[in-house]
Every structure is written in C-alpha cells, then in structure tokens.
C-alpha cells in the first residue's frame, strides 16, 4: 500500500510487460498454477485439518465440531461456520486485531463455495430438529501470504473437511451420548475456487503476491464437480469486460477439473 521503491517499480514494470507477452516472471504460463503441496490430518486436536502450500503461500485449516442450535429458518440442518484469520506472522501488512474486510471477504468467499455447492450434507448433521445440531467450525489460518489466498484457503478447507472425523453418537433423552468409533463428515461435492488477476488487460491464473500488487482487479470463479458455477467474486478497484468474465469461467472450469483430478476428488 505504501509507495514502492524504485527497485520494486522496475520489477513491477517487468512483470506487467512479460504478461503482455503471455509470459510470467516465475516462468509460468498465464493459466498455470504454482506447485500445490497438501498435508492433511496434521492437527490431532482438531476433527479435521489440512495445510496447503501454493508456491510460498501457506494456509492451514482446522475443523472443529461442536453441538449448538440450528438457525430458525433451517431447523433440520447443521450449521457451517467459516472464519479466516490473517495472523500478523504471515505478512508485514497484516495487523493483530479483530477481522478486517480482507479476512472477512476471504472467509465469506470460501464459505459461499462450500455452502452454495451443497458440499456438505447439512441435513445429516441434525441431532434434534429445531433444537440441537452439529456446528462445523472451519477456521482458515493464513501462515504465509504470497498471493492468491482464496484458492489456497478453499483447497485447504475442502481437504480438511474431507478428512474430518465425527465421533459416533446416539441421542438419549435429548442428550448426545458419545459412542465408540468415528464416521467421516458427509461431504458430497468438491467445489474448487480459481482466481484470476487482470494485469495489462490480460488474465493470469493463481497470481502470486507481486502480481497481486500490480493487478487492476481480481476475479474468483468457484465451480462444482459438474462444472456448474457456485460462487463468483470480483475484487480490487478495477473492472472486467463481459468477454473477460466469460473467458475466465471457461478457464476456471478447466483448471478446477485438473485440480480435482490431481487430488483424486
């Protein structure tokens, strides 16, 4: 946000000029993702967990399950709660304190992808209709910010949900009794978010931090297993032509399919 030094400006110019030629400073093609590394089940205290490395961007997600009350308008459904923290360890631009607009937007975009694709069968998380349901807390924890937090967070959230184990239980007089063993969370869809940056009027997939710093605008398209769109979010103080948007949709479908295939989803 502060004035960039001359060295930085030169590099930014170079990044933008390369993209105009269809190239990127780190050697990737315009629609290439950085290397994706995934670890899962690493937080034993959590019911589910995952760490995603997207290049140097590093995001951890922990899933905790508690019991609570359903929303009045969905008495037969469990509750999904997505929260994101941009902890100050992850970037010199993050500050301690309550969630700001960036962490709230991140959480809500990831949330919409999961919620709108109906990735989790929330009806299976109802204990006593209207009274008691399971509440799924998905906590996104950004550990290192090198760009494209949305895609990394969405991947980590789905990976963590996929390895989430719920304890078995039975209901006795309205009280939940824990029984031995675990069952996986009822996950039935695999939404994948694909984010574009517009730089020099070109779209690039999976922008890293230095690309984000010079991008005009950002566009995230989340699609489900059937290639349907389930969430879209434009960000940044720029704009897109309708043509660019529709082009992005097609690329997003392809990239999401690739990722789903790679991860065996």
């Amino acid at each position: 946000m502060t004035a960039a030094t001359t060295v930085v400006r030169v590099k930014q110019k170079q990044i933008a000029q390369l993209i105009a030629k269809g190239k990127r400073l780190d050697g990737r093609g315009l629609t290439d993702y950085r290397e994706i590394k995934i670890e899962q089940g690493i937080i034993e205290r959590a019911e589910g967990s995952a760490k995603v490395l997207l290049g140097k961007t590093e995001v951890m997600v922990g899933v905790k399950i508690e019991t609570g009350e359903p929303f009045p308008d969905t008495p037969n459904e469990g509750v999904l709660t997505v929260n994101a923290e941009l902890v100050p360890l992850a970037s010199p631009t993050f500050e301690p304190g309550p969630p700001d607009e960036n962490s709230i937007e991140l959480a809500r975009v990831v949330d919409r992808g999961i919620r709108e694709s109906k990735a989790i069968d929330l009806e299976k998380l109802c204990i006593t209709p209207g009274k008691k349901v399971f509440v799924i807390f998905v906590d996104i924890y950004v550990l290192n910010h090198d760009g494209n937090l949305i895609d990394a967070s969405a991947l980590a959230a789905m990976t963590a949900l996929l390895n989430t184990k719920m304890f078995n239980y039975e209901v006795e007089n309205g009280e939940v009794k824990i029984k031995p063993g675990y069952t996986p969370l009822p996950v039935r869809r695999h939404p994948v978010a694909v984010t574009f940056a517009k730089i020099n009027d070109r779209l690039v997939v999976d922008p890293w931090l230095e690309e984000e710093q010079i991008m005009d605008a950002r566009l995230t398209i989340t699609t489900d297993d059937d290639g349907n769109i389930c969430a879209v979010q434009k960000g940044g103080s720029g704009c897109f032509t309708p043509k660019q948007v529709f082009e992005a949709v097609q690329i997003a479908k392809e990239k999401a399919a690739e990722i789903r295939k790679k991860l065996g989803w």
Binding site: D224, N228, I229, K234, C239, V249
Partner: protein, 244 residues
Amino acid sequence: MSQKTEKLIDKKGLRIDGRKPDELRPIKIEVGVLSNADGSAYIEQGKNKILAAVYGPKELHPKHLALPDRMVLRCRYHMAPFSVQERKSPAPSRREIELSKVIREAIEPAVFVEYYPRTAVDIFIEVLQADGSTRCTSITAASLALADAGIPMRDLVAACSAGKVEDMIVLDLNDVEDKVGTADVPVAYMPNLGVITLLQMDGILTSEEFEKAVNLAIEGCMKIYAMQREALKAKYVSVKEVEE
C-alpha cells in the same frame, strides 16, 4: 439459497410481484436530498429505500494514511435496525463489512482518484428498508451522490442483479426471489466503457445460465443508467416500466 415450496413463477410466466422475467421493479430516484452532505441521492427500487451521501474531498486523519498520488475512497454500507424483518443490531455485521468493500471496489473504477491527491472521499450508504439486491441499489445511489458532489468520474456506475428463479433467468431479484431462488448475480456496469465493476454470484448456475444472467443484468444496468442520467438533470425521476 435454500429451496422452499413457494411458487415464484406463475402459469403466465409472471413473477410473484407480477413482473415479467426481464422487468425491473419500479424505481424512484432523487438527487441532492440532504443539506449537509456534499452530494446525496435517495432511491427506491421495489421496497428498497436507500440513502447515499458523499463527503469530500477532505483532509485525512491521521495524516500518514493519506496517499501522495491519489485520493482515498472510503465506503460504509450500513443497514438501519428497522430495515429488515428481525431488528438488526446497529454494530456492523460481517456481511455489511464485505458489502462495504465490494461496493467501494465497484465505484472506484469510475472515479478519477488521481485528481485529488492526499484527500479522502467518504461514501455513506444507509439502507432504510431492504428488499433484495440492496448492494446494487446502493451502488446506483452512491454513484449519483458522487456525481452530485462534483467528484470527477469517468462514467456513472449502474447496478442491477439477475438470477435464477424456478429455471428462469430473471432480472432484479426482490427479497423473496433472492432468498428462495436458485442463484443471484449482482452486477455493476459502466455503460460508456462497457465494463463490469461488481460481479458476485451465489447459488448454482451452468456457465450458459451464468452468461445469460450477466447479460440480462447488464441490460438492466443500461435501463437504470438512463434513469440515473435523467435524475441528475431533473434531480428527481420516478419510473415504472409499462407493459409494452
């Protein structure tokens, strides 16, 4: 969006409030309604009742937040406690914080921010009554309030939603359609430049449906844009689409 059993499209293909699929709700616009603000606009779109005010350009405190080469554009989208069915707490919700951000980013592309370096411009939006697609109605109003304040702009920003209701792509979702429909696609558009400045979606759409919805929303934006320009001239305009 949860599916419920209400019937949202009748046999004639008309919507719950009698509109045709591509019909806007009645719109009233008034510009320059507040005496204290540097610019202001009031808009009714269906039962949406929204006020937008602009203050600035002005000094920024603390000073180290000022930018040497441009103005800082700030935006606060806020709902009155009585604007919705259940009283809303006055403290800003996560939703209001996200919408403040995306509205600001929908308007910023239209503003010549470099004309007033080291200053701030504040956009304050108050939703007095909410009836679906409030973020679009807010952008339409905020854009007029900026023009009323004399902030130099590339173009007005007009905004309108489209969505899917019972297998039909429809324009300008109202509260019930927003809550019970299949998908909602709010769009903000600058007609002169032909660019989209806000785009969100939630629900489920095929890419063909999505394209159709975006294009329909842009058509809606064009109609609203015409009203905006009219309102700036007349300071007041009221339009209800008539059967053609």
